[in-house]
């Protein structure tokens, strides 16, 4: 099932248990799999199956309750919050369902923000932000704030924000859920094109089986377990 190339992320017997009002809820159980460079993974499953929990654990924003998660062979158990933040800043790009753009910043500033966290010089930040927006077809919208953009344009800005730092891994949580069908297809095609151009690893979760079918590797989750993990044509 696993590829022979070096794993970017390795899940080893990962469990995630959420507690609410003293009641435990098992979100992930005995998750074992690896993500390799250049893969485009589609994560599917019903609501509450554990897709988002898996994405959150992979994105180092929700530590596993049990098990070991290795990022580039480093066990995240050994890392402090500051080090995890640095890995997120350098290696991981997020694309959220609700876009999560900072409302007070323009499109260009939103894209520039992750580069500021890497302490890059301003001139380089501006150039890279401009290039990223150009890649997603928004070169004419750099000064607009999120409120002045359509849903599709906002998600394009979010994609530009995710790719601008040349991350190792992009995690997209239902990136097309808030978009109409046409825009949804456009955004997905854009993401797929960028994945192929930049050779970046993408893990995307969606309810839409048509979108999942377009990904190279499809992982299905049910009740916190991986019930299938298969490669489609075009897999790396």
């Amino acid at each position: 099932m696993e590829k022979a190339s070096e794993a970017i992320l390795r899940f080893q017997n990962i469990h995630k248990i959420h507690s609410s009002d003293g009641v435990d809820f098992v979100a992930l159980e005995k998750i074992n799999f690896s993500i390799h460079k250049g893969e485009f993974i589609g994560l599917s499953g019903k609501s509450g199956s554990g897709k988002t929990s898996l994405l959150n654990v992979a994105g180092l924003i929700d530590p596993p309750t049990k098990g070991d998660l290795f990022i580039k062979n480093i066990n995240i158990k050994d890392l402090k919050d500051r080090e995890l933040s640095l890995i997120r800043a350098q290696e991981i790009g997020f694309i959220f369902q609700s876009f999560n753009l900072l409302p007070l910043l323009s499109a260009a500033e939103n894209v520039e923000y992750p580069l500021m966290l890497l302490n890059l010089p301003e001139a380089e930040r501006l150039e890279r932000a401009h290039q990223a927006l150009k890649r997603v077809g928004l070169e004419g919208f750099t000064h607009r704030r999120p409120g002045q953009l359509s849903g599709g344009q906002r998600q394009r800005v979010a994609i530009a924000r995710a790719i601008v730092k040349n991350p190792t891994l992009i995690l997209a949580d239902e990136p097309t859920a808030n978009l109409d069908t046409k825009t949804s297809d456009e955004v997905f095609d854009l993401l797929m094109g960028l994945q192929q151009d930049l050779r970046v690893t993408v893990m995307l979760c969606s309810h839409d089986p048509d979108l999942i079918a377009k990904t190279h590797r499809q992982i299905k989750i049910s009740d916190g377990h991986i019930i299938s993990d298969s490669f489609a044509g075009g897999a790396v």
Binding site: F96, P103, L105
Partner: protein, 404 residues
């Protein structure tokens, strides 16, 4: 970028930011005004005490400072005994004597008790300058048989400049003596106790009435007031070896009222500052806490993008520092405006026991500006740090559930 974001965040909720700025500005202005008012009052009291009432320093016999059953003569000394001291301590600018006694003052129809103080107008020019006259002038420098009378005592005796009064007392040797003197002026010291019983006359005339060449106290004027306290030990050491019965005391030792007021203002200002800072602290804490709740989704996003906890805290503190900077600037301008207004309106007030009202004045002091700015900044940082730390420790996944 962070600065830009901070600026935009503080203009996001204009009314709330305005409220925070007003709280900071109010506290800063209040601290500056309270300190300015108390400093002016203290400066005035210091001037009255050190330049007028007591002089920079006084030297007197031990029996004068701690009177017992000894004879009056034992408390007196010759001013010339201090000639060497004046030569040895070059910081002393002037050294003159005072001699006082209680006597009966009569205008022919009415006799009342009064305190008569002999002063040397040449040796204490500041004393003469500071005297406020309601009628007439100061007595002549050359020892004319003239007096100036407290305005309340003059009213009681129904005397005015040009009238004659008779002063009756015992000489140092206990022999009854009397002298006719002309009223040169009526003064107001601003304190009922003084205006109602004190008469000033030339030192030489006082010595003539008491039949002595001695004085009660020597009043020292230094080139700079600070030199008085700096030289106190030096002078007492010299007196101990040359005139062991004489002791020096600085104006601060003598000015009980000044010390009491100084202490009172110190406590009062600290209490007021604490109340203002507590209000400001709670106000900013509340405002930042509301902001944190509203920006939960944003905080989650920033953390997911790789912002560290420290950077989240720094961003909130930067925003509060900007608010604080604006608030401090507004506070300083408001305080300067209030001071100018109070100066123009000429608000008069009366101190307890004072016979004449005085104009309220407030000093604009750079030390108060720095102190108030420092307090406001520290309070703002602490009030922000608490909710900001809470924000930085938010569960990222939980925070992301809140929409931006």
């Amino acid at each position: 970028m962070r600065f830009k974001l901070a600026l935009r965040n503080i203009t996001r909720h204009r009314l709330r930011s305005l409220l925070s700025i007003s709280m900071i500005a109010g506290a800063v202005a209040a601290v500056i005004l309270f300190q300015g008012f108390s400093s002016y009052s203290l400066r005035a009291l210091k001037w009255i005490a050190a330049e007028n009432q007591y002089g920079n320093m006084q030297i007197a016999a031990e029996k004068y400072w701690n009177p017992g059953k000894e004879s009056r003569a034992e408390r007196l000394f010759l001013l010339s005994d201090l000639d060497q001291l004046k030569t040895d301590v070059p910081q002393i600018e002037k050294l003159s004597g005072r001699l006082s006694f209680f006597g009966l003052v009569s205008n022919g129809d009415l006799s009342v008790g009064g305190k008569i103080i002999g002063v040397d107008p040449v040796g204490e020019p500041q004393f003469k300058k500071s005297m406020k006259f309601t009628e007439g002038t100061f007595f002549g420098d050359t020892g004319a048989k003239e007096v100036v009378v407290g305005r309340l005592l003059a009213k009681q005796m129904n005397v005015k400049p040009g009238d004659n009064i008779t002063v009756l007392t015992n000489t140092i040797d206990g022999i009854m003596n009397a002298m006719d003197l002309t009223v040169a002026g009526l003064f107001s010291a601003g304190i009922d106790e003084i205006d109602g019983q004190v008469i000033y006359m030339p030192l030489s005339i006082t010595q003539e009435i008491l039949d002595t060449k001695n004085v009660d106290i020597a009043v020292l004027k230094f080139k700079e007031l600070d030199m008085a306290e700096a030289n106190l030990k030096n002078i007492n050491d010299r007196l101990a070896s040359t005139r062991p019965n004489l002791f020096a005391r600085s104006w601060r030792d003598l000015a009980v009222l000044f010390r009491q007021v100084d202490k009172f203002y110190g406590v009062q200002n600290r209490v007021i500052e604490m109340i203002l800072l507590a209000l400001m602290f709670l106000g900013i804490l509340n405002t930042v806490s509301m902001t944190v709740v509203e920006r939960t989704g944003e905080i989650g996003t920033l953390r997911a993008l790789g912002e560290s906890r420290r950077e989240i805290v720094s961003q909130f503190i930067l925003e509060s520092m900007l608010l604080s900077l604006i608030g401090i600037t507004v506070g300083i301008i408001a305080a300067a405006g209030c001071i100018s207004l109070v100066d123009r309106v000429k608000i008069m007030t009366e101190m307890p026991g004072a016979s004449t009202p005085f104009q309220i004045k407030i000093l604009f002091m750079m030390s108060s500006v720095i102190y108030a700015s420092f307090l406001a900044t520290v309070t703002t940082v602490f009030a922000t740090a608490i909710p900001a730390l809470r924000a930085s420790r938010m569960d990222i996944v939980e925070a992301l559930r809140k929409n931006i």
